[in-house]
Assembly symmetry: C2
Homo-oligomer: 70 residues x 2
Amino acid sequence: MKNRLEEFRSQRGWTQQELADQVEVSRQTIISLENGRYNPSILLAFRLARLFQMPIEDLFLYSPEEENHE
Amino acid sequence: MKNRLEEFRSQRGWTQQELADQVEVSRQTIISLENGRYNPSILLAFRLARLFQMPIEDLFLYSPEEENHE
DNA sequence: ATAATATGTACAGTTTACTTTACATGGGAG
DNA sequence: CTCCCATGTAAAGTAAACTGTACATATTAT
């Protein structure tokens, strides 16, 4: 799933470590999210959306077509 | 995390199995979500929100106070 | 040059979401 | 009463999210 994490983080002048600290995950987790290695848990998604003050849907861009796992 | 799954499901007259089929998970998963055994993945949350035609935030009720894992 | 900072990769380990199967219970409908 | 259906629990297994550590590289500052 695509996301706009890096965009909003650097918009605010934050490092990956600073973002990680604010939502209480490791720096590795932020890197993996930004680089699309995996999707956040819903709890982390809520924390990030809250931090950036926007709905989850604005931060994480869901598209059903990406979900073809037959 | 609290959610309103059962409420919206029975509002529509659906069984757990019918809901499970529509979002392509097992019935066990729906039971576990409804009974608060665990939280959905963000992908499943998106699928459910889409099905019920509402934002994730309306279906799954996040409260930071529940998250005290020090 | 070298020291510090920011980003990235790799890998092994833990936790949790989700599956499958099997079985229990309670409420209608015949 | 018995059959069916919806809901629930339990347990073992897999997949994916997340952690910690260690190392590489590029940029900037001293």
